[in-house]
């Protein structure tokens, strides 16, 4: 469970999160929407423990993501909006994930295969040299391979072709039970079939929160 209470975050004079209080429970599958600058990314980064809040608190399964980041992040998988230009080879990246998050290599290979990504052939290639779609598929495979009970997707299908999107939805459908899935998206129709809760943010506030 994620419990956010009176969370505010300022960057200079810009208030990015304004007294946000919200809870996410097991089996919640949430579409987090809002215009650019609404505070969506700040909210997920606060959950991941990247930001020190000005006021308020974030608790993930009762733990503070800044003070107990390792314990908290054991239960979170994250797929960023744009795959970062990581210079490591895929093999080295998997080594890092195996070592740090205890995710099994076979599981990553399995989900990569399910996403129709020929990972074996590209194992010694630098991650940043893969195409945008391939990178995104690999990041999705890594997120699904973990045993985390919270998965955060920031515009996960932005780089995917329709076939890969279908693979992604199919795999998610299987992994949905007893988890919190949080999709940051601009297009509700892309995740509509997967979500049971819609949250709209604007000017750093939650302006609407509906179960569907």
């Amino acid at each position: 469970m994620i419990k956010i209470k009176n969370l505010s975050k300022k960057f200079g004079s810009t208030l990015s999160l304004d007294d946000v209080s919200i809870e996410f429970h097991q089996n919640d599958s949430i579409a987090l929407m809002g215009a650019n600058g609404a505070g969506k990314t700040t909210l997920i980064r606060s959950i991941l423990g990247y930001y020190h809040p000005n006021t308020g608190s974030v608790l993930v399964n009762g733990l503070d993501p800044i003070k107990e980041r390792q314990e908290v992040l054991k239960n979170i998988s994250f797929v960023p909006q744009l795959p970062p230009p990581i210079k490591l080879s895929i093999d080295e990246l998997i080594d890092y994930i195996e070592g740090s998050a205890n995710v099994k290599r076979e599981q990553i290979l399995h989900y990569a295969n399910e996403m129709k990504l020929d990972i074996q052939f590209n194992m010694h290639k630098s991650f940043f040299k893969l195409s945008g779609g391939m990178k995104q598929k690999l990041l999705i495979a890594i997120a699904l391979a973990g045993e985390s009970n919270i998965i955060i997707f920031d515009e996960p299908t932005a780089n995917l072709d329709p076939k890969a999107r279908d693979d992604f939805y199919r795999l998610l459908d299987r992994k949905q039970n007893n988890k919190i899935l949080l999709f940051v998206t601009h297009r509700l129709e892309e995740v509509e079939a997967l979500v049971n809760r819609e949250i709209y943010m604007d000017f750093g506030k939650v302006v609407s929160d509906e179960k569907i």
């Binding site: 980064r45 991941l48 423990g49 990247y50 930001y51 020190h52 980041r69 390792q70 314990e71 908290v72 992040l73 054991k74 979170i76 998988s77 994250f78 960023p80 744009l82 795959p83 970062p84 230009p85 990581i86 210079k87 490591l88 080295e92 080594d95 890092y96 994930i97 070592g99 740090s100 998050a101 630098s126 990041l139």
Partner: protein, 275 residues
């Protein structure tokens, strides 16, 4: 602990593949090769000859270029990762900030230190093959001094990297620090300060605080302290402080400076927003 070495190992592998590392290694290896090609070991100037002269020339050039190389290649280590969202992804895994930061420091230290020592080692091996006398005392002193200088500037670079938001700013600060410290070695500003009759304790104090000046003076400390090429402050230091004490100081002090800045950088890294 396992993750610390994993980060160090991955950073080392990533750095070795980078173009800057190739240039970096070629510069230091090329310097040694150039010295041999132009016959530095066969010539004699002001009492220096053979491998001693070669190593002395190498270290004099290293004083200038090693700090800036370390600063510009390392200063973007964390700030660059922050800039292009690598940090956001890599830190979404359950790795402690301590392991991430110090792993990066260790990996980068090996990357910057080994090529400069290898270049000297190649000089020694090549010199031995050609039958030259090996100046072991100078070699070991320079190995220690390069370790100390690398530590100092690596710590400063990580400190800068931990608080700047963009890598362009980090580069700007790195250049400023390099120019500033370069200006305070006694061939430049300190000579000017003496001319302007500044208090000598102040001048010596400033000189001793500068890791580049300490490195420079220590590098020539095994030679004749009467040499005028040393500069006024170097002469004063070597004339006042015992050689053994100064050599120890020249290794311990820059290492402490590096550790201090690296720890400050770590404090900032953990206390500030990560991305």
């Amino acid at each position: 602990m396992k993750n610390l070495w994993l980060i160090a190992y991955l950073d080392l592998k990533e750095s070795i593949r980078a173009k800057w590392f190739l240039v970096y290694s070629l510069v230091f290896g090329g310097l040694i090769a150039l010295f041999f090609i132009v016959g530095v070991t066969e010539s004699q100037v002001m009492g220096f000859s053979g491998l001693s002269r070669l190593l002395l020339m190498y270290i004099q050039i290293t004083i200038i270029i090693l700090p800036i190389f370390i600063l510009i290649t390392t200063v973007r280590s964390i700030s660059g990762d922050r800039d292009n969202h690598i940090l956001e992804y890599m830190l979404s895994f359950p790795i402690s900030l301590k392991q991430y930061y110090w792993g990066k420091v260790i990996g980068r230290f090996i990357t910057v230190y080994l090529p400069v020592v290898f270049a000297m080692l190649i000089a020694i091996i090549y010199g031995a093959i050609k039958g030259a006398e090996i100046p072991w005392a100078i070699f070991f002193l320079y190995t220690g001094l390069l370790f100390a200088l690398s530590s100092a500037f690596l710590g400063i670079a990580f400190f800068i990297s931990s608080f700047v938001k963009s890598s362009e700013v980090a580069l700007g600060i790195a250049f400023f620090i390099w120019i500033f410290l370069l200006a305070f070695i006694d061939i430049a500003l300190i000579a000017l300060m003496m001319q302007q009759r500044f208090n000598e304790e102040l001048i010596i104090g400033i000189a001793l605080m500068n890791p580049m000046e300490i490195f420079r003076v220590a590098a020539i400390s095994l030679f004749d302290p009467e040499l005028t090429v040393m500069g006024p402050v170097a002469f004063y230091i070597l004339d006042t402080i015992s050689q053994m004490f100064f050599v120890l100081l020249s290794i311990v002090y820059p290492v402490l400076v590096g550790l201090l800045f690296a720890f400050l950088g770590f404090r900032i890294f953990t206390k500030k927003d990560l991305v």
